[in-house]
Amino acid sequence: MAQLIIPTPLRKYSNEASTFNTEAFTIEQAIEELITEYPDIKPHLMDANDKIRGYIKIFVGEDDIRALDGDQTELKADSVVSIVPAIAGGSVSIPTWIGERSRYISVVANN
């Protein structure tokens, strides 16, 4: 039975369950089963077209499914599937940075 590891930030939508066991044959089926069990998790995993959101990566073992067969990647009984949210940020927001750059260009242009 394959095991899905639910990321900590999404466990408030899975009744605090950290793992989910499934006999699904593919990633797509496993995610469908997870969403059936915990419907509140769906908007955090899937976009409006029912595709896995761009900022969510899925790993089988240590392999990103984008380098395998995507959501049709097959699962084995001992597969460990990790749902991985993007973790990123930074000190300057993009609009602010663009604004600073525009001012810089403006200053240069005026000199």
Binding site: I5, P7, T8, P9, L10, R11, K12, S18, T19, H44, Y55, K57, F59, E62, D64, S82, V84, P85, A86, I87, A88, G89, G90, S91, V92, S93, I94, P95, T96, W97
Partner: protein, 140 residues
Amino acid sequence: MKLIIQPSAEETMKQHAIKDFPDECCGFLYGKESDEARIIETAVPVENKKEGDKKRRFEISGIDYMRAEQHALKNKIDLLGVYHSHPQHPAIASEHDLKQAMPFFSYVILSVMDKKIDDIKSWKLNEENTEFIEETIIYH
């Protein structure tokens, strides 16, 4: 909810932020949580994998995140958040931080000015996941 940061975790974050200056550093925060407080017991540095401007951006790789979750499960501790530094900027969560933020996590930000720690603040998404709320930090 109060955020209690234990001394060893605080020291790890500070040293990492100074070492990586003028780039942003990042890492994971582990500990435990009760109804009254969230306690950060350990900070674990990871490499900033952002391609390009690391002075203004950080990114944690999917593999590093996956290993962090597995580490927490194996050791029966909670992955409670991430920390990162803001070199030459205040410890205020940016619009970019907000866009990338996940529910539940504490986002501890260290402001580093001229290679010295200037301020530390922690932020967490509100229930609607629409804005950051500052957490009260207690050093213990």
